[in-house]
């Protein structure tokens, strides 16, 4: 089992540790709802060092990145980021990624913990001779600082003291780098919570000091460490897909409300042909939001019915801490009319009523 450099910090702060994609990670410290609310109202710190970082370098790095992923990295200026997916030839999603454009000869892809080795192998397999694909995951740690007070916290941190102006100016999905003890640190205005937030990538050896400093500086704003449980409920409310739930190799981005990250007008990319075809013939399924009208909590995998017919399954479901009600995302047959609002969910053998509601459940305040 792998541990991040902050493992001992988590245990010492009462983190309940669980196996997540082969890493021992904190699912919560003070309670999922408490951590969730802290991120919505103040600021929370997440250790996301388990995420994978894969670097693409070479003169044609940009071109290759655009061949490997569905979104357009070329459309970005240097110092900008895009959310994207990486597909198989048949359009199934291998992973969802962030693509950081440093320059046309250096692109960094950030992948999920459960998938980065698969993505590394996939990219290495399709890479051209003049392209270098490097797995930097082992050496890089990452802290996500999320919540309305995230900027205030970072401005007070030792790490950001030399770059305060740059930090204050940093727009959503932009990043910059700085040298800390001679090593590269990346600060990006990104996150997975629906709140204003930042993600800080740094060498593993520096992360304990940064975490301690962030916690110390965050004290007066009542910052808390937050675990994977809150990370999940926060992203869920914001309508973000989670690999293994809304998206997987059997799901196409066109089904999962991710058409906006698929640039079908790009010259060529892996999966293009299948996705063009799918767009023409319409994908088989669509992702919708549901709210329970009966009591009960919908969970991943539960079957959904309407008019007595099974039409899909829940991909994520939980009690929403912000909206105080049980909600779910679900993949259902595309043929189910938009006008149909009422569904039944098989909650462990009991049929419970639910109605369709708009996604996302929580509008998000990422650009505040």
């Amino acid at each position: 089992m792998k541990k991040t450099a902050l493992y001992k910090k988590h245990v010492d702060s009462g983190g309940k540790m669980v196996d997540f994609a082969g890493f021992m990670m904190p699912v919560s410290y003070t309670g999922i709802v408490n951590e969730h609310e802290t991120v919505r109202e103040k600021v929370g710190l997440f250790d996301v060092s388990h995420m994978g970082e894969i670097e693409i370098t070479g003169d044609r790095a940009l071109e290759f990145a655009d061949y490997a992923v569905t979104n357009s990295v070329e459309a970005l200026d240097n110092g900008r980021i895009c959310y994207t997916v990486c597909c198989r030839n048949d359009g199934g999603i291998l992973d969802d990624l962030l693509a950081y454009r440093f320059s046309s000869d250096r692109i960094l892809l950030v992948a999920n913990a459960a998938n980065y080795q698969k993505i590394y192998r996939h990219l290495s397999g399709i890479a051209w001779d003049d392209i270098e694909v490097t797995d930097r995951s082992a050496g890089i740690g990452q802290i996500a600082v999320q919540g309305p007070l995230s900027l205030d916290l970072l401005l007070r941190s030792d790490l950001c003291t030399p770059v305060r102006d740059q930090l204050e100016e940093l727009d959503y999905y932009h990043f910059f780098t700085l040298l800390n003890d001679g090593e590269e640190v990346i600060i990006s205005r990104t996150g997975y919570t629906g709140e204003k937030g930042y993600e800080v990538y740094m060498p593993e050896g520096q992360i304990i000091r940064a975490w301690e400093d962030f916690m110390e500086k965050g004290k007066e704003m009542e910052a808390l460490p937050a675990g994977l449980g809150a990370r999940d409920t926060l992203r869920f409310e914001a309508g973000y897909c989670l690999y293994g739930h809304e998206i997987d190799e059997e799901t196409s981005p066109l089904e999962a409300r991710l058409s906006w990250v698929v640039k079908l007008d790009k010259e060529d990319f892996v999966g293009k042909e299948a996705l063009v075809e799918q767009k023409k013939n319409k994908p088989e399924r669509k992702l919708i939001g549901l709210e329970m009208t009966d009591k009960g909590i919908p969970r991943q995998g539960f079957d959904i019915y309407t008019g007595g017919e099974k039409v899909g399954r829940i991909t994520s479901g939980t009690f929403s801490p912000t909206l105080r009600k049980p909600l779910a995302m679900a993949l259902i047959k595309r043929s189910v009319s938009r006008k149909i609002k009422d569904f039944e969910i098989d909650v462990r053998g009991k049929m419970k009523n639910a109605k369709r509601i708009k996604l996302p459940f929580y509008p998000g305040r990422v650009k505040d």
Binding site: V27, S28, G31, I32, V33, N34, G229, D232, T233, K295, G296, I297, R299, T318, F319, P321, P326, R348
Partner: protein
């Protein structure tokens, strides 16, 4: 309430007898392990329950757990307060957060259960 009167199951339910009626709930350890409890589904007054049967569910943010009946008998009272405010269970697991009162057919069912000290050993505390 004297903890010496409590008996525990290995599924983390507690129970004590009060004039032939078994009062039951779940332990503080169970609350801790489940995390934030957001919804409970309980049997109704008058329902007949069997010892060790799943008679309800406890839904937390992340997980769901079955509630097992510690005794056989008839449900005579349901704690509506925890249905309205599931947070009460964690706040006061051994008092206000009780779940059910069951008119027990056979009070000796408690004899084989863990006492408080044995339960603490069982959960490694």
């Amino acid at each position: 309430m004297n903890m010496d009167d409590f008996r525990f199951t290995e599924e983390h339910e507690w129970v004590y007898m009060e004039d032939g009626v078994a009062v039951m709930g779940i332990s503080d350890y169970a609350c801790e392990e489940l995390g934030d409890i957001v919804f409970v589904e309980l049997p109704e007054v008058g329902d007949a329950v069997q010892q060790k049967d799943a008679i309800g569910t406890i839904e937390a943010v992340k997980t769901v757990a079955d509630l097992f009946s510690p005794v056989s008998g008839e449900v005579v009272e349901v704690n509506g307060d925890i249905v309205d405010d599931p947070g009460l269970i964690k706040e006061s697991p051994f008092e206000e957060g009780w779940f059910l009162k069951i008119k027990a057919e056979d009070g000796s069912e408690l004899d084989d259960m863990l006492d408080f000290k044995q339960y603490k050993e069982f959960i490694g505390k």
